[in-house]
Symmetry: C2
Subunit: 288 residues, 2 copies
Amino acid sequence: MNSVFLNGAYLPKDQARISVDDRGFVFGDGIYEVVRIIEGRIFAWGEHAARMARGLDAVRIPFSASDVAGLEAVCNTLIADNDLQSGEATVYFQVSRGAAPRTHYFPPAGTPPTVYAAPSRFTPSRDMREKGVKAITVPDLRWARCDLKTVNLMGAVLARQAAHESGAYEALMIRDGMMMEGAATNAFAVIDGVVRTYPLSNYILPGITRQYVLDAARDVGVPVSEEPVTQAQMFAAPELFIVGTTTDVAPIVLLDGKTVGSGSPGPVTKKVQAAFLARLYGSAAVAH
Amino acid sequence: MNSVFLNGAYLPKDQARISVDDRGFVFGDGIYEVVRIIEGRIFAWGEHAARMARGLDAVRIPFSASDVAGLEAVCNTLIADNDLQSGEATVYFQVSRGAAPRTHYFPPAGTPPTVYAAPSRFTPSRDMREKGVKAITVPDLRWARCDLKTVNLMGAVLARQAAHESGAYEALMIRDGMMMEGAATNAFAVIDGVVRTYPLSNYILPGITRQYVLDAARDVGVPVSEEPVTQAQMFAAPELFIVGTTTDVAPIVLLDGKTVGSGSPGPVTKKVQAAFLARLYGSAAVAH
């Protein structure tokens, strides 16, 4: 129990140690993913693997799409070894550019990437789904490649800490007067009955849950639009919600201390949430 | 020989290993410094320590100014243990927010920071000083707190790699049409006889060498101005140079394949370089 995967070996987490020369440690030079495990099955593996392969390729860490595909078996071994065939869990994956004497430019060809995967037991919060969450707004200080899931996460860390300290779950990033996304979620507003979210660009993460939510909303007849939401529209919106791999669809009921809409999850959010959860859990959604 | 410092212990580098849960590894959640060692003496320790303490405070890693002050003794032990009392060396310091189960917000109070220091033998490049270097320009993709020396360095890594692949030493970052700084140096232009560099702000590192160079230039009667240089001014400037802890003052003689000025280090750069090296080495400058 509590075994993780590191560079080809399965071992207890407290024995999983990396070099101080790892470029993940000294440069944040790595790409990560988090997948959701439900009753021992990986949700949306194909989408997560494709995003991870694209990120590794974009920053040129030599770990190919077929190497990433090989992590599915690693994930399944971790699920089995850690007794995660029932209930829910997450598995965290990270591939860094490996350990080498410190130079900003890439290490010598042949330097093996560091490959790490670790499972955690996970229980989704019924309260968060049903009662909603508080959020705050913060300036988006992050870099111009937020579409890449790198471990350069200081901006997200500081934003989430600000949220945490004000009793909120999430910090929504404002860039050039627009609602971009949460520190670890994508953000949506309901405006004139239309579910709106920032379009795919270099400034937001192409969230897997984001895409599932857009598809699920369309399927149940809720109009969607990938169009920026201004800060003013955000505060005037009757409904706001955030989505992510461990957040699912969470209504925002309080933003910077101001009530959103009626102060309870709104009808469009609930409809989209139900449609998404049906996809996540299959027809057993109601039971969760 | 080749001992490093990790969390209170001195040990061979290949035995210095950190947890996969280290926030340096999974979030780039750490602050670093690099100091120059000349004949066993730390150059500008006070300035480096002050900047490191300021950075740790800004991101709220609980490692105080007096904790940072304690690293001077660590540095001196590393110098002695690694036979670095003569010649030159660098010592790298990094303090991360420690190892804890992964949450974006800060780990529980009492989580000890990870404290790491490692020396390397260093030989400054006479060629770089005397003949100058090539540089390229790249868009500045980095976040809005480049004044903090965090290990969120993916932007610098990719920029330096681009430079490396084109046979250049440094990549100069362009933001909003302005020359900001190099990926790991501060950048200067000589315009109408005035040495110009971007003013201190959240967008550039407050370089220790940058400050020494400004002071040294003033001392030898070279006018300086902390004022942005446009991309057009940059390409028209008769002299460009970069400065840093391991770069000293390096003339740029080729920018994006175009000759800078005469293609050789210019008179103002040489004068400033000599003035800086005199401060770095004291009166023995000529010998180096």
